[in-house]
């Protein structure tokens, strides 16, 4: 279930807290998140992009088997990202030290951002309202251009709504084609 051109929270717009998420649609600028990474160092999303496309993943947390499964797949895909000038960033409410351990267990080499204080969660309107125990992010994914504008949105509340690795590849190809001036090698 891929929500092309759709807001991730469109189906739950009755909650006023989710209204902010309505802006997170194709072509809209994604907020330049400022959060600590898995080592506790302050980072900004724009800095992590570094001029490259991003797969931005919002994850419930280390405890969710669906997250473990999906992030293991992304950890496999990082072997392609590492040679393709593109980034993966994961955001969750896990504390820094938990993220660091989870990241190491996955063998991930990409950046995790910790919103343990839920500072961005309500502003993004991505709270999973059905989980009142962990107060996590709703699983969602955004593929972003290097300037942080949204290319495609995925609502991952149901596992099948998450981007498959083929869809991530497709999005990275589409974004790269649109931003790399030398995508087609000039003919002599």
């Amino acid at each position: 279930m891929t929500n092309d051109n759709a807001s991730v929270a469109a189906t739950t717009a009755v909650d006023p807290a989710l209204e902010a998420a309505l802006a997170l649609e194709r072509g809209a600028p994604f907020p330049d998140l400022d959060l600590p990474d898995h080592t506790g160092r302050p980072r900004r999303l724009s800095e992590l992009a570094g001029g490259d496309p991003i797969a931005l993943i919002f994850s419930r947390g280390w405890w969710c088997p669906k997250e473990q499964r999906h992030l293991r797949e992304l950890a496999q895909l990082q072997d392609e990202f590492e040679v393709a000038y593109a980034r993966i960033v994961v955001v969750s409410v896990d504390p820094v030290e938990v993220q660091g351990a989870f990241r190491a267990g996955l063998g991930a080499r990409f950046t995790f951002l910790s919103d343990a204080d839920r500072r961005w969660l309500p502003r993004l309107g991505l709270g999973e309202t059905t989980d009142t125990v962990h107060e996590p992010y709703q699983p969602a994914a955004f593929t972003l251009l290097p300037d942080l504008s949204v290319h495609r949105v995925y609502d991952g509340y149901w596992y099948w709504g998450r981007p498959t690795m083929e869809e991530v590849r497709r999005d990275m190809r589409e974004i790269s084609r649109s931003v790399r001036a030398d995508w087609e090698l000039p003919r002599a």
Partner: protein
């Protein structure tokens, strides 16, 4: 976006590290961002490089690629708040002459993955500025700049 200066030359003679281009020793290209901000006083540089011009490996060889992967996966997280900056050392557009990791505390230097490529020398230094660690997972270099520097 303005492209950053791709590299700054450092000179290493096997014991000392300097930006003085007239100094005797081996000239190697380092990530310019490491020298852009206020220098961290009394830091320690782990210079995994040889003074010998033959101490070089192509960046694309598996051992150099794996050292960069290990830096992203575990080396930088292990240094934590002690981390100041990291740069590989480029000989030219193809070859890697080693790497420098700078930290406030040298205690973890024995775990430096770049020491698998070239032996490490600990140098007390006031040359290097704080630079945010690379985001990963990119290990490719941009336009020949020493990893993790550069950008499109």
């Amino acid at each position: 976006m303005t492209a950053p200066t791709p590299f700054t030359h450092v000179v290493f003679d096997g014991r000392r590290l300097t930006l003085d281009r007239r100094a005797e020793g081996r000239r190697l290209r380092a990530d310019s961002r490491c020298f852009d901000g206020p220098p961290v006083q009394g830091a320690y540089a782990h210079v995994c490089a040889g003074a010998d011009a033959e101490a070089r490996l192509p960046f694309d060889t598996p051992e150099v690629q794996q050292a960069r992967r290990d830096a992203l996966a575990s080396w930088i997280p292990r240094l934590g708040a002690s981390f100041v900056c990291l740069t590989t050392l480029a000989v030219d557009a193809v070859d890697c002459g080693g790497a420098i990791t700078v930290a406030r505390d040298p205690a973890a230097f024995a775990s430096d993955p770049f020491a698998r490529l070239f032996p490490g020398t600990v140098v007390r230094t006031d040359l290097f500025a704080d630079v945010s660690p690379p985001a990963g997972p990119v290990i490719e270099r941009y336009a020949g700049a020493p990893w993790p520097g550069g950008g499109f």
